[in-house]
């Protein structure tokens, strides 16, 4: 009994020590004020120090966040409209869903899915290429070390933010209204959604570029285009490729749903199957999408290991 009590006390002590270590190490790592409590730095007083991990302001902020989150959750739970009648037969409906999906409608692969899949692939890839073509010049405009003009920096950042805050499905709605249903709308919506993502991250990579080679080239009298090609580009090329791959991976996933609003690709087939309640076709399409996403992930991680 005594032994157990002793070991428990020991565990508590070690745990306290461990969390104290975390406190100091994380404070050092982030370079913040550790924010120990009163008594710190007064070496002449032997009084017991009170160690506190965070400064009062941080603790207040965290408390406010906790309080706000709980309030938001409670508010949502109390006011969200859920129709309970629908829930009674949910297990039945789910079982029905899977029963109708299997066996898959395999002939549908030849009929429609293969062509739609290729179209999806083209939409994602072309969209990514188009996004890169638009985002890279813009991120040079946004990078404060390359373009020394605050107005232009802000303009480019504004374009990035507006591109990112509109969902790709909304972009697709807009482009379908403009160019009519089809792959063109899909390519453009993928591209416009990706500009903000690629531009923001590529701009950060540019701003982190080492100034040494750039200064050397400038001092040697290189024209600005050569400074760009031989000073900046070799430094940001790995970032460029990893961003391109990452976004391509995401875009394959996104382009699968664009067809729901008429922007081409496998989503069109999915929409048709859903509207006709052909769940066996829906099941096949979902399985195909799953396979494509897995293959894409394997390919991109292989390329990333090899290329970058």
């Amino acid at each position: 009994m005594t032994v157990r009590a002793g070991s428990k006390a020991g565990a508590d002590g070690a745990a306290a020590a461990a969390s104290a270590v975390t406190a100091t190490s994380s404070a050092m790592a982030t370079g913040q004020d550790p924010g120990y409590g009163p008594g710190q730095g007064q070496g002449h007083t032997p009084a017991p120090r009170r160690w506190q991990r965070f400064s009062p302001l941080v603790r207040l902020g965290r408390f406010a966040v906790y309080l706000g989150s709980v309030a938001a959750i409670v508010w949502s739970l109390r006011t969200i409209e859920v129709i309970p009648e629908f829930l009674y037969d949910a297990p039945e409906q789910t079982a029905d869903l899977f029963r109708r999906m299997w066996p898959f409608d395999w002939p549908y692969w030849e009929e429609a899915i293969r062509a739609a899949l290729i179209e999806t692939f083209h939409i994602a890839t072309l969209g990514t290429v188009l996004a890169l073509m638009m985002a890279i010049p813009l991120s040079f405009l946004a990078a404060r070390n390359f373009t020394r003009h605050v107005g232009l920096n802000w303009l480019a950042q504004f374009i990035f933010v507006s591109s990112r805050s509109v969902n790709s499905l909304i972009w697709a709605l807009l482009f379908v209204a403009i160019f009519g249903p089809g792959a063109l709308a899909g390519v453009l919506s993928i591209a416009f959604r990706s500009i903000g993502f690629i531009g923001k991250l590529f701009c950060e990579a540019l701003e982190e570029a080492h100034p040494g080679p750039i200064e050397a080239l400038t001092a040697a009298g290189a024209p600005r285009s050569l400074v760009l090609a031989k000073g900046y580009w070799p430094q940001v090329e790995p970032a460029f490729w990893s961003l391109a791959l990452l976004r391509w991976d995401i875009n394959i996933r996104e382009s699968a749903v664009l067809g729901l609003v008429g922007a081409g690709g496998i989503g069109v087939a999915l929409d048709a199957a859903l509207n006709n309640l052909y769940w066996d076709q829906v099941g096949l399409i979902l399985a195909v999408i799953f396979a494509v996403v897995i293959v894409t992930e394997v390919v991109t991680s292989w390329l990333r290991a090899r290329v970058i």
């Binding site: 461990a18 965290r62 409209e81 869903l97 709605l173 209204a177 390519v187 979902l286 999408i289």
Partner: protein, 274 residues
Amino acid sequence: MAARTGSEAAAARLPPSPRVAFAPNWAARAGWVLLALYVVYATGQLEISLDRVIRGLENAQRFLGRMFPPNLEADKLELIRAGIVESLQIAVLATAAGIALSLPLGLAAARNLAPPWLSGAMRVVIAVCRSFHPVIVAILFVKAVGFGALAGVLALIVSTMGFVSKLFAEVVEEMDPGQVEAVRATGAGFLNVLVMGVLPQVMSRFIGLSVYQFDSNLRNSTMVGIVGGGGIGAPLFTAYQRFDYDVVMTILIVIIALILLCEVVSGRVRRVFQ
């Protein structure tokens, strides 16, 4: 890069006498040419032509003309307010439930904590959650639990679990094993090791991920309505299909304002928890 390693090998083989500053990298250039060829080929496949783009630009003029001024009638605003509130509720509930489920899922998927059979199984679960767009998951849940906000919440819970637990498992795998060993050496049980050794190290990253995911859920909660999952997406899609483009414009402005506001707030929250 394959091309670069090729040129490095060539540089090692060649004698250093004919030194060319910035030697051309032929393999990379060939790659760019291939990419250009692919673009031309795929553009042809998708039947994209300059003619269509130009015709579209005329359309765009008409389209944008009908979007302005945004529709600010009281009944429309009331509809939009209800939709936005529902989207917010969906995002809040999905994030809360999703991160509550991601915590154990991420810990179980971390290879340095869980036995291989468990982490392997959890990784498959995460891969399935991640590979479908939330809107597609929402389609399935609309069939399972009917139209309305619940389907949207469930769909976003799935995508939250996919994203948060994958990255959380990576964070856990990168943590410092020393502290865990120290706690374990005192004879602490598994739960104590978890609470005292693991969680203090990874909690701030986990909260950062959750805050990021809330932003992402909010964006997607405005979209699940297109397939019947509740939120602002349904009024948006209805207005779009009825060619009420001025209402579409109002909804878009509200959505963008809400997302930007949430980005500011979540930036603040992340700074508090860093």
